[in-house]
């Protein structure tokens, strides 16, 4: 037997200097031989720990064994038993905190590149453009309304359609996909090649998607159930309310929420302005406030839009960055300047209504807080100005209140998140289920998908009981 490599097969990537100026995908994907070689690193453990780290419980050793045997159709079929968007998850899941964190190889070296293998299997299938066989729905099939076409809603819709329910997704924006379309940039998750194809496949299966419908305004949930004939509703509206820092100067021109910055670029395609009419003024020096994946996305987007200097300003240290390690690494490679242990206190005006600088104070790390991260404390008198003309606030999102505020009987907690059962996603309103960021607060694509899956199972059980089956 060959000696086992301690490191993952490297992911082919665009050169950092080149990719920092284009929106093409950064990671290029394994070819067949690399994928098989990486799959051969899997020890096929008797008690595979990797699966315990997957929020949707993908049969990881199962699909890896199929890749090893070059049975790629078998591999993707195995993944799809539990994950309906593998091309997405293979790209954006934080594997290092999930499946790969539990891989036994990780004890001595690097874990198996599970995410990369998942992507390989998914991309390979997608390239084949397989015919999707539309579901045949019974005449009296029950109807389910899904609010929000993001990861939670899409997953829930797919599972329910495959169980024979007539599903309609209502999406507020003009494009389905939720954060996959408006949030995650093209260079990390290609829209036409991946996101649109996954959504088109759902539609081919028989899921109806109505874009441009703001539930809470055009219809309330009560109206959907009482007048539009829906037997159950799933709310997956996500974390659609940007947090600001509440520091002086936040309403100056040149200050964006990460949601606005990314929506203009990704959804409205401002990076192709003026071919696309939506502008995005990026300036020469950009400070992105925050240390999560959204902050990395905004910083790397700013570089690609032509900013000369892009800072990440984060109040804790390197080890505390909530972003996927790979994202922070890619950002650094591309030239993003990490200003760690700095906290913004004011956005300074140029006197004409525009940003001139971001005033920060230096921080030092104290004792670990409830979240286990060492909490930062300001160093007195250490204020300084970072000269920038654009500031992007990427410190998180809260729940958008439009649906909850128009749905009597559906409880929310004090943060405004919808209260839902962890296992069934049932809300306090009968027939209404909720999952994803609207319940948990801003989290990951895969957790939202996991919730969509659980909800689909619970909705199936609820509707079976309702029809007396």
């Amino acid at each position: 037997m060959m000696a086992l490599s301690l490191t993952k097969h490297p992911m082919p990537e665009q050169d950092p200097k080149v990719r920092a100026h284009n929106f093409n995908e950064v990671a290029l994907g394994y070819d067949e031989e690399t994928a098989v070689a990486e799959a051969e690193r899997c020890l096929n453990c008797k008690v595979p720990q990797c699966r315990t780290g997957c929020p949707v419980g993908v049969n990881i050793p199962g699909f890896i064994a199929k890749i090893k045997a070059r049975d790629y159709d078998g591999a993707i079929a195995t993944i799809k038993e539990s994950n309906s968007l593998p091309a997405v998850c293979g790209r954006v899941c934080p594997q290092e905190n999930q499946c790969e964190k539990h891989c036994i190889l990780g004890k001595k070296g690097e874990p198996v590149g599970i995410g990369r293998l998942e992507r390989f299997a998914a991309d390979r299938e997608m390239a084949q453009n397989k015919e999707i066989v539309p579901m045949e729905f019974a005449k009296d099939a029950q109807k389910v309304a899904i609010i929000g076409a993001g990861p939670a809603g899409l997953t829930c819709a797919g599972d329910l359609a495959r169980k024979g329910y007539r599903v309609t997704i209502f999406e507020a924006l003009h494009t389905a996909g939720g954060v996959l379309s408006y949030g995650i940039p093209e260079f990390r998750l290609p829209k036409d090649d991946i996101v649109k194809k996954e959504i088109a496949n759902l539609e081919k299966l028989g899921v109806k998607i109505e874009v441009d419908v703001v539930v809470g305004q055009l219809y309330t949930i009560d109206e959907l159930m009482e007048e539009e004939g829906f037997d159950a509703v799933f709310v997956g509206t996500g974390a659609g309310l940007p947090h600001f820092m509440n520091i002086p100067g936040e309403n100056l021109n040149g200050v964006y929420s990460a949601n606005e910055f990314l929506t203009r670029c990704n959804l409205m395609k401002a990076y192709r302005f003026p071919e696309y009419a939506t502008p995005l003024r990026v300036g020469n020096a950009v400070a992105v406030v925050g240390g999560g994946n959204v902050a990395m996305d905004a910083a790397r987007t700013a570089l690609r839009l032509g900013a000369e200097h892009v800072y990440i300003v984060y109040r804790r240290g390197e080890d505390e960055l909530p972003a996927r390690r790979e994202e922070a690494h890619h950002a650094k490679e591309e030239g993003v300047d990490f200003q760690l242990l700095n906290n913004p206190v004011e956005i300074m005006s140029d006197g004409k209504g525009w940003v001139r600088a971001l005033k920060c104070i230096r921080m030092e790390l104290g004792e670990p807080d409830e979240s286990g991260r060492r909490s930062p404390k300001a160093v007195k008198g250490s204020e300084f100005e970072l000269p920038v003309d654009t500031v992007v606030i990427a410190i998180g999102q809260g729940p958008n209140p439009i649906v909850a505020s128009t749905t009597p009987g559906m409880e929310t907690n004090k943060r405004g998140n919808i209260v839902a059962d962890e296992e069934t996603c049932a809300t306090t309103k009968p027939g209404v289920f909720a999952g994803g960021d609207i319940v948990t607060g801003a989290a990951t694509v895969i957790l939202a998908m996991g919730a969509g899956k659980k909800a689909a199972a619970a909705i199936d059980a609820y509707l079976k009981e309702k029809r007396g089956a």
């Binding site: 109505e210 305004q217 600001f244 309403n251 929506t263 302005f273 009419a277 939506t278 209504g353």
Partner: protein, 282 residues
């Protein structure tokens, strides 16, 4: 959803009235609310306040001015053609109720359009409606007949005196105040300068003055925060908390500055030669 243009009318140079087929939206729209539309795949999302809605015909009426590339694109649509995306209703509805008393409804320029459904609603609710319509000159005054039909009294002002009272909407407002009319509420919709001057005029009088704001927006559902405006020292999102706010609490200077955010970029863009052959007949 897509929405077909049913009727198109040029009210004055660069000022259009569109009747759009959107029955589901018309059924739900209330005075004070707005829609967001996107003309085509490359277009911006444009917020436009609803000028009228007809629940029976299933139509929404829009009145808009050609001010940039996106409204020019919209103006090029002909009856029978479709707007690619038409979303609504959005925002909070106006607080219209019986028993308010005397309501002065002020519209300036294209701002007369969104005032109309509010004034009509106020009248239908049994309030006394005094309207003030302001325009730069007689030729660009819109909706006079419609407003006259639902107002107990109407004032017209033009900057150049070509029609009605010479002066601004505040000139007419002063006349109403001076004759001792007890005013219970004022609605003022129009350019920021106009709303600000109305608000400054009514502040010492202590008359509740509602304004409708039109900052730059993207999604219109509270997701991006682009439309944030300071009201009473707090940051509010015009798309979901508004578009109407208590004018006495609004930071108009901040609003004006933010509205100018993309002016330079868009002006530069105006010099370009269109690759798909769209003319600019100015």
């Amino acid at each position: 959803m897509k929405a077909k243009v049913l009727k198109k009318e040029l009210l004055s140079p660069k000022l259009y009235r569109f009747d759009v087929e959107a029955s589901r939206i018309a059924k739900k729209t209330q005075p004070g609310q707005f829609v967001i539309l996107r003309v085509n795949e490359e277009g911006e999302r444009i917020p436009l306040t609803v000028a009228d809605f007809d629940r029976e015909k299933g139509t929404i009426t829009l009145i808009f001015q050609e001010v940039g590339a996106s409204t020019e694109l919209l103006a090029q649509l002909e009856p029978g053609e479709e707007i690619l995306d038409f979303v609504g209703p959005l925002g909070q509805k106006s607080e219209i109720e019986p028993g308010i008393g005397t309501v002065v409804c002020i519209g300036g320029g294209v701002g007369i359009a969104p005032v109309y459904p509010i004034a009509r609603g106020m009248k239908q609710a049994g309030n006394k409606v005094i309207s003030i319509l302001g325009a730069r000159n007689k030729d660009i005054l819109i909706m006079e007949e419609e407003m006259r039909a639902i107002s107990d009294e109407i004032f017209i002002t033009t900057d150049d005196g070509s029609y009605g009272v010479k002066g601004f909407v505040t000139t007419a407002l002063q006349q109403i105040v001076d004759r001792g009319e007890k005013i219970d509420r004022i609605y003022a919709i129009g350019p920021v300068v106009m709303m600000k001057s109305v608000v400054e005029a009514t502040r010492p009088l202590g008359i509740k003055t509602i304004v409708s704001l039109n900052p730059v927006m993207v999604d219109g559902t509270g997701m991006c925060g682009c439309c944030r405006v300071e009201v009473g020292g707090e940051t509010r999102f015009a798309c979901v908390d508004g578009p109407e706010f208590d004018g006495h609490l609004v930071d108009f200077d901040g609003l004006r500055a933010r509205q100018a955010m993309y002016r330079e970029m868009e002006a530069r863009e105006k010099d370009h030669v269109c690759r798909i052959g769209l003319g600019r007949d100015e």
